[in-house]
């Protein structure tokens, strides 16, 4: 899943990016409001973490513009402004969640998971596809009760596919949501990753869950 951080405090943005990347998320950063708005409009983010006090354009204005432009990406406000009025104004402007600084990184992760889940219509932190179980809270993947060990990026791929189960996902789509802005889209790295998780998830099982649709992409389906 790809997350856009709009935050002018570089040290904070950088450490949050690092922590999220270690969780398997792809992360882009915008250090001011103008860049933030541009990237929110033009990059296929699954979630936007948005500060309020930003240079050039403030967070609330960005949020209103994003929503006016019809972008429905979940937005998590992450700001030092912690009064009730601030929260109300943020949520009323179209934010999906509001977290005040200083925050716990664990809580930020939990809220990100909840928002991504809600966005794909999944109610609990575990997704089941046939006998495949993906626990988004612990990043545990099991098939027939047996744990499958995956790297962070492999997990991110299976989770993204699970959240979009029964939908055909193009290579471009997958790479856009798994990798940040700096990733070279021409690379066939997606095919490599698909092959790797196929080996781990489908090998040795009669029923195949990862399907290849020639010329269109991949799909996770029961």
């Amino acid at each position: 899943m790809r997350i856009l951080i709009v935050e002018d405090e570089k040290p904070l943005a950088d450490i949050v990016k690092k922590g999220l990347e270690e969780e398997g998320y792809a992360v882009d950063i915008a250090y001011n409001g103008e860049d933030g708005f541009f990237m929110a409009e033009n990059e296929p983010s699954d979630l936007i973490i948005l500060d309020i006090m930003l240079p050039v354009i403030d967070g609330i204005t960005i949020l209103k513009r994003i929503r006016k432009a019809g972008i429905k990406t979940p937005v998590l406000m992450l700001t030092a402004k912690g009064t009730v009025m601030d929260k109300v104004s943020g949520l009323d402007s179209g934010a999906d969640d509001y977290l005040t600084k200083p925050f716990s990184f664990e809580e930020l992760l939990a809220r990100i998971r909840a928002l991504l889940r809600r966005d794909s219509g999944v109610k609990s932190s575990a997704i089941e596809i046939g006998d495949l179980l993906i626990d988004m809270a612990t990043h545990e993947v099991k098939r027939e009760g047996k744990t499958i060990l995956l790297s962070a990026k492999e997990y991110a791929l299976i989770e993204y596919m699970a959240l979009n189960k029964n939908r055909v996902l193009s290579r471009t789509n997958i790479s856009e949501h798994l990798y940040d802005h700096d990733f070279d889209l021409d690379s066939n790295v997606i095919d490599v990753f698909i092959n790797r998780i196929r080996k781990k998830v489908d090998r040795g099982f009669r029923k195949k869950l990862i399907h290849t649709l020639r010329g269109a992409g991949y799909m996770l389906k029961e």
Partner: protein
């Protein structure tokens, strides 16, 4: 002492009233006293004169050519006619007379005296009045020395015979005691009513004070932004209300500044705190290489360092914006302050190869200021001029006098500030470009601090700027008086 204003007013008022009433009562009483006694005395005197006339007629009858009355001749009984004597003859009459020789021996006395005698005073030169007691009754007595040549020749009196005439005066003087009684009762009731009235008036008079105190209570209980605006407040107390309103205003401003400061400060501290927490949490999520821990710790240290700088600056700002008293105003050389500032900042300027000029035309300018606070103000301004300057830029500093103000102008060749941003540069934590100024160590408090300091000195700061041309900061300070 009695602490209640009301009681004090009433007591004071009653004291004045009592003094006034008693003076007035005494004057009235003694005037009446004099009138009553004058009346009694004149009637007594005319009686005595009547007796004198009778006696002299009698003497003439006894010896026609006598030029003086001999003692033996006076032994004779006088033949007073009944019509004159009847008022003295009854033993129960309250009119008395006694005729004596000058040595005091009695020649004749009225029947009304019975066994008693009128008190006698040997040396009497003219008609002399006394109040005395006779048979338990209060009487008025006249000692009238009879003139020998007749009643009308008092000028050359002969005191062979003294006529004493007396009268019980209780009845006539009872008007005085009655009058005194009436006065006492009147005074008593006047005092009672006045005390009640005094309390009422004092209460009425103090009511506006109670009103204003209630109004003050309401303001301080509910909301400092409210003001005393009661129509019931008397004109005389409007000034108190105004004073209190001014006090409330400055209190409210101080409170708001304080609140704003706390909110700003906590806001500014939350972000670096978030960095520290996130760095730690992310680092602890899994085992890492020593190099990674080192990087995380370095980041945490840097952030903590920034926080402590921020806290220090916040304290400076709080000090200068809240406590007027800490400034030690003295005559101080502005040239000296700027020299000191430049010395302090020259390493920074050298790093960016910025040329700082200050015309040394020999003119010295002195201002009234605090020798610690003023350099702080200038350091922040010049520091900004360096930070937002272009490499190889210039800073031109000049000082001039304009009226009562000494103006120090700091002109840089920096990036400039947009028109709309000019107002905001004094706002706490405002940075034209955060990431850029953070990189140069700014935390957005410098100009706020400078402005507070200059304001505390009774001066002001003006800023003019042109994008990409530079910024001119003018500091107006009050010049030292004798220059």
């Amino acid at each position: 002492m009695v602490s209640s204003i009301k009681v004090r007013i009433v007591l004071f008022y009653l004291a004045i009233l009592l003094v006034t009433l008693s003076v007035m009562g005494n004057i009235l009483y003694f005037s009446l006293h004099r009138i009553v006694y004058a009346f009694i005395d004149s009637s007594l005197l005319s009686r005595a004169k009547a007796l004198a006339t009778l006696i002299s007629e009698d003497i003439e009858d006894v010896s026609d050519d006598a030029t003086f009355i001999r003692e033996d001749e006076l032994e004779t009984e006088f033949n007073f006619s009944d019509e004159i004597m009847w008022e003295y003859s009854s033993p129960t009459s309250t009119n008395y007379f006694q005729i004596r020789r000058v040595d005091g021996t009695t020649i004749e006395k009225s029947a009304s005296l019975g066994d008693s005698e009128l008190p006698f005073y040997p040396v009497v030169h003219s008609a002399d009045f006394q109040t005395t007691f006779l048979k338990g009754r209060k009487v008025r007595l006249v000692n009238f020395p009879m003139p020998k040549e007749g009643v009308n020749e008092i000028k050359t009196p002969r005191y062979d015979i003294v006529i004493q005439c007396a009268e019980a005066i209780e009845e006539k003087t009872s008007i005085l005691s009655r009058f005194r009684m009436v006065l006492a009762v009147t005074v008593f009731f006047v005092v009672i009513f006045s005390a009640a009235g005094g309390f009422f008036i004092a209460k009425k008079a103090l009511e506006p004070i109670r009103n204003i105190s209630d109004a003050i209570d309401r303001v301080s209980e509910t909301n400092l932004s409210e003001r005393i605006a009661d129509k019931k407040i008397a004109d005389e107390l409007k000034r108190i209300a105004d004073s209190f309103n001014r006090v409330f205003s400055s209190l409210e401003m101080a409170f708001n500044r304080q609140r704003q400061f706390v909110s700003d400060a906590s806001h500014e501290l939350k972000t670096p705190l978030s960095v520290i927490i996130s760095q730690t949490e992310v680092s602890l999520r899994k085992e890492r290489e020593p190099g990674e821990y080192r990087a995380a710790l370095t980041a945490i240290l840097n952030t903590a360092g920034m926080m402590s700088l921020l806290i220090e600056k916040l304290m400076t700002l709080a000090r200068f914006s809240s406590d007027r008293l800490i400034l030690q105003m003295e005559e101080i050389s502005l040239n000296g302050i700027i020299d000191k500032t430049l010395k302090l900042l020259s390493p920074l300027a050298d790093e960016k190869r910025i040329l700082i000029t200050m015309p040394a035309d020999g003119s010295k300018y002195s201002v009234y200021g605090d020798s610690e606070a003023l350099p702080e103000a200038f350091v922040n301004i010049v520091d900004n001029a360096i930070k937002y300057n272009v490499p190889d830029g210039r800073i031109d500093i000049s000082i001039r006098k304009e009226g009562e103000f000494i103006i120090a102008e700091i002109a840089d060749t920096g990036i400039g500030i947009q028109e709309g941003e000019l107002e905001k540069v004094f706002d706490r934590f405002y940075r034209v470009d955060k990431s850029r100024s953070r990189a140069s160590g700014g935390i957005g408090l410098g100009l706020s601090i400078s402005r507070e300091i200059i304001r505390q000195h009774g001066g002001r700061i003006e800023i003019k700027s042109q994008i990409d041309k530079g910024t001119v900061v003018s500091v107006y300070l009050k010049g030292a008086k004798y220059e």
